[in-house]
């Protein structure tokens, strides 16, 4: 949605929660963090959208696409906010289509390939178990816009976490084959589950400002939920796993470059192209 000067789009939108007054250094932190949240939902939403038309059954194909849509919706609100905070005339599409891999700050988990249905379910379960409890706390942020976006997305997220939790149980306590698949997914993806809770310098500074919640509390809720679901799924929670990190600081696995190549192709090839 590029908005050209003096030519309002038919569907131009204005948010009625204005950008708060921040000292310049705090504003930069909030901007960086908003982009990090947006990148996270965006890359996972894009990954899920790759399933569209390839789901194992029609209902689950639709579930994957619905969740993708919710995440892209959350992304749009966040990128629009980031663009407003920045105040340099960029719009949500510029944020999505014209930033390179090192500028993307999503945790490594969400850029991991879809793999099989077991991999996708486990990736989603790890993410939802963070996202749901995180949004619950972010609703209390001193940043009014982030709080409003969290309030909106939490309702949607409550459907996501139910869906992915039920599927972990079904696959773990299902057939020999389904169990083998989900156990393989746990081996592959568990090292990416810790990054959500490792605080970057930006996050530590924002915690002090009251903008973001304390992740140690969210980690407790995450642990309790994972333990409960895995117990019902008759799966073991991995212990003492080396945790990967770096995504939130722009150091990515090779997968993100391929995601962005596909997703940014049109804007890179035909700059400024519009529908």
């Amino acid at each position: 949605m590029h908005n050209h000067e003096n030519a309002p789009h038919l569907h131009e939108q204005h948010f009625n929660t204005p950008v708060q007054e921040y000292a310049p250094e705090v504003k930069q932190l909030v901007l960086d963090y908003t982009l990090q949240l947006a990148d996270t939902s965006f890359i996972l939403g894009h990954r899920l959208s790759e399933w569209c038309g390839h789901g194992p059954v029609l209902e689950q194909d639709m579930a994957l696409s619905n969740i993708a849509l919710d995440l892209i919706g959350e992304t749009r609100s966040l990128y629009q906010y980031a663009a407003e905070l920045e105040g340099k005339g960029r719009a949500e599409d510029d944020m999505a289509y014209l930033r390179d891999t090192v500028e993307y700050k999503n945790p490594l988990l969400v850029e991991q390939p879809n793999g099989d249905f077991g991999d996708t379910i486990l990736r989603q379960f790890i993410f939802d178990s963070f996202h749901f409890f995180f949004l619950k706390e972010l609703q209390n942020s001193t940043d009014h816009r982030l709080a409003a976006i969290a309030e909106k997305s939490l309702k949607e997220s409550s459907y996501h976490i139910k869906w992915s939790s039920e599927w972990v149980i079904r696959l773990g306590d299902g057939t020999e084959e389904s169990r083998k698949r989900i156990e393989k997914a746990i081996d592959n993806l568990w090292p990416f589950s810790g990054e959500f809770f490792m605080m970057t310098a930006t996050e530590k500074a924002l915690l002090e400002q009251g903008v973001i919640p304390d992740y140690s509390q969210i980690k407790q809720s995450w642990d309790a939920h994972v333990a409960k679901v895995f117990e019902e799924a008759t799966l073991a929670v991995p212990q003492n796993v080396w945790m990967q990190s770096g995504g939130k600081e722009g150091r990515h696995t090779e997968h993100l470059g391929f995601v962005l190549t596909e997703l940014q192709y049109l804007q890179r090839t035909y700059p400024g192209l519009e529908w």
Binding site: H14, E59, R76, A147, K155, H225
Partner: protein
């Protein structure tokens, strides 16, 4: 009738592009209408954050009001308080059921409870309450897919969002 009241009446003619029996007013997405110095400000809220109908709704509202002679129309997007199915009007719920979509049911359960029981949803065709959830995610973000165990009708359920 003042200008605001007139605008609310015009908005009754703007329908939801996915569920054309509902107006944007029935749906509860129009939160506020203000007229100041010939500029109309309509505040709307998304049902779901990724709902692709929102752009169309904003455009349709703008076009309707321009067609009614207003010169300047501004659409504001409000995220908080977040839309809830409680804002769907009673008239809207009746229209939904007549259209073949089961309206949201108050089940008293906490949506944030992770493993709640499934809601009892009445079949819009034969009115039986002996129905089953097929998929929590349906043809659009706001709907789940159900099937009636009595008449076998598969139907959309406008799911509860709180």
């Amino acid at each position: 009738m003042n200008k605001e009241e007139k605008i609310w009446q015009y908005l009754e003619d703007v329908s939801d592009p996915e569920i054309p029996v509902l107006s944007v007013v029935n749906l509860g997405v129009v939160r506020d209408v203000q007229v100041q110095d010939e500029e109309v400000q309509v505040t709307i809220t998304p049902t779901y954050s990724g709902c692709p109908a929102m752009n169309t709704i904003a455009t349709d509202i703008r076009l309707k009001l321009l067609a009614e002679g207003f010169q300047s129309v501004r659409i504001n997007m409000q995220l908080s308080p977040a839309w809830t199915t409680d804002w769907l009007s009673e008239e809207g719920k009746i229209k939904l059921e007549e259209y073949g979509i089961a309206p949201p049911v108050e089940d008293g359960g906490d949506i944030h409870a992770l493993f709640g029981r499934d809601t009892t949803v009445r079949c819009p065709l034969c009115k039986s309450e002996n129905t089953k959830l097929v998929s929590q995610f349906g043809s659009t973000a706001c709907k789940a897919l159900y099937q009636c165990n009595e008449c076998l009708e598969p139907f959309d359920y406008f799911k509860c969002l709180k």
